[in-house]
């Protein structure tokens, strides 16, 4: 099903493709399909997967249904990294073919990760809600910095920053895809590897400890890997909100299973969700494409409220 969705979705877009021509490697249609549509659809699927799975994992680690990498301020860090590059006037140049925006948003995300890591060490207990509060405080700090940047930037620059904060799956070729793919594989492998630990801490940290599991070390490793792959993702797409919050929640509600059985399904559902949102973003009539972040929040937000109401 996922496969056919990916195939079908590639045929939606501003330029309609002629099926007869797509196998002709010299045609424009072929080019659009292989260099634009196909990488983009895959990017959407992988991004949705990474965002959802990392949301699920973070909620389990921090024992708070509202935790996503984004609520911990990682996307804020990435945005700040990207906008400082734009402000410095390097918004459209790059290094070794990778744009400075990508590089610095990754740096911003990783910086935040280590900040959170050290703060959590200081707090002595990763499962505390205080860490989530720290993340929220960080996000506020970042957004005030961002406002300063807006204030200092030229009209064109501030548009570029604004566009970044909306998130985008616009991509050409396979380099971006490769970056996200690496993060996705890393995340999947590690979450399966730590599946048993995740299951134990889904009961409680004390429980896992009493059963003889070296909780602290394992969770820290997991935390670092998640943040690393989210950092890679955000550096490419910018912040795409809400998926990490809503998809794990919906999957849990529908399947009623505990975490070890949800890993793959959360990844796949998140992938499909973002893929659909992106397809909608591409076909809606407008002068240019609507940023996908807006669509995810629109669809996600209304769906979320609907589900919560239906449950009552």
């Amino acid at each position: 099903m996922v496969f056919s969705l990916i195939i079908v979705s590639t045929f939606f877009g501003k330029v309609s493709l002629d099926i007869g021509k797509i196998f002709d490697s010299s045609s424009v249609d072929f080019h659009i399909l292989t260099q634009v549509r196909f990488p983009r659809v895959l990017l959407a699927f992988l991004s949705g997967g990474v965002l959802s799975l990392s949301g699920l994992l973070f909620q389990n680690i921090f024992r708070n249904d509202l935790t996503t990498p984004f609520t911990l301020g990682i996307s804020g860090g990435a945005t700040l990294g990207a906008s400082s590059v734009i402000l410095a006037g390097f918004g459209s140049s790059g290094f070794l073919g990778i744009s400075y925006i990508t590089i610095f948003s990754f740096v911003g995300a990783l910086f935040t990760l280590f900040l959170i890591y050290f703060i959590s060490k200081r707090l002595g207990d990763i499962s505390t809600t205080r860490l989530v509060l720290v993340g929220i405080a960080l996000s506020f700090l970042y957004s005030s910095f961002l406002l300063i940047f807006y204030y200092l930037s030229s009209f064109e620059q501030s548009y570029q920053i604004l566009r970044y904060t909306m998130g985008s799956l616009l991509t050409v070729g396979y380099r971006d895809l490769f970056i996200v793919f690496t993060g996705a594989v890393l995340l999947l492998v590690v979450s399966f590897y730590f599946r048993r630990t995740l299951k134990y801490i889904s009961v409680s940290y004390d429980f896992a400890f009493l059963k003889g599991i070296d909780v602290e070390k394992k969770i820290m490793t997991l935390f670092i890997v998640i943040s690393f792959s989210v950092g890679l993702l955000v550096s490419v797409t910018g912040p795409i909100g809400f998926i990490g919050l809503i998809v794990p929640h919906m999957v849990k509600r529908v399947l009623r299973r505990s975490i070890d059985e949800l890993l793959t399904l959360t990844f796949v559902s998140g992938g499909i969700f973002l893929l659909l949102c992106d397809t909608v973003a591409r076909v809606l009539p407008s002068i240019s494409e609507i940023p996908v972040g807006i669509i995810t929040s629109l669809i996600g937000g209304s769906l979320f409220i609907y589900i919560l109401l239906k449950k009552r």
Binding site: N60, S202, D206, L210, G212
Partner: protein, 234 residues
């Protein structure tokens, strides 16, 4: 053998425990009693290394913080007063399977009376059933020492009897039971470690604690013993 030798334990600058010294031989059980807030649960968690201390708890001659995680799990287990699970979709049977180190799940389900409920989610259990599940999980874990933190505090009389029978039976090796239930403690007949702000005292013989004069000294007139029954005078 369990040895506790604790000068002081504090949260921030609030001292919770002071001068606790206790030795429990390999073949003995223990009941811990004392007023609310006197540090019983804290002591229990220190014994199991859930609260970290340095060189104050020894199990079989080894400091508990130096025992490897796996080995410590075999040695000691702590059963909290309330079942708290973050994940809403863990079933009773799954919980026991996760708890299992060397016990048997089937027999734990049977003796705790939860056999019929094994496929329910833990969150759908009543509070009494949840408490029984905790006791059943202790059987599945099968630690050499099991510390029960108020195992009967919210139970109906029939369930209290179920837990009593499990503790009295030989399914678990060494048991440490924290309770406020006087009759329960009396019938268990374990040595009693009574904790007070002014200091703690070990009564090697349960009857010595439940001696009429001793009860009067500790509780004033509010606890009395008549024949074989310890009651609160209201």
């Amino acid at each position: 053998m369990l040895q506790v030798d604790l000068d002081r334990f504090a949260f921030g600058d609030k001292t919770v425990l002071k001068d606790i010294s206790l030795t429990l031989e390999k073949d003995r059980n223990l009941t811990i009693m004392g007023a609310n807030g006197c540090g019983k649960s804290t002591l229990a968690k220190i014994m199991c290394a859930l609260y970290k201390t340095k060189k104050s708890v020894k199990i079989d001659g080894e400091y508990v913080e130096r025992i490897s995680d796996k080995k410590r799990a075999l040695k000691i287990n702590y059963i909290p007063p309330k079942l708290q699970i973050y994940d809403s979709y863990v079933s009773v049977k799954e919980y026991l399977r996760l708890s299992r180190i060397r016990g048997e799940i089937e027999s734990a389900l049977t003796v705790s009376g939860l056999y019929e409920k094994q496929d329910l989610y833990c969150k759908d259990l009543s509070s009494g059933e949840a408490q029984l599940l905790l006791v059943a999980s202790a059987l599945c874990h099968g630690g050499e020492i099991t510390v029960f933190d108020e195992p009967v505090s919210n139970l109906d009389p029939k369930k209290v009897k179920t837990v009593f029978d499990i503790l009295k039976g030989d399914m678990l090796l060494q048991k440490i039971v924290i309770t406020h239930n006087l009759q329960f403690a009396y019938k268990l007949g374990y040595p009693i470690f009574f904790m007070q702000k002014s200091g703690a005292r070990l009564y090697d013989d349960c009857d010595e604690f439940f001696d009429k004069e001793n009860l009067f000294r500790l509780f004033g007139g509010s606890v009395v013993k008549r024949d074989d029954i310890v009651v609160i005078e209201l």
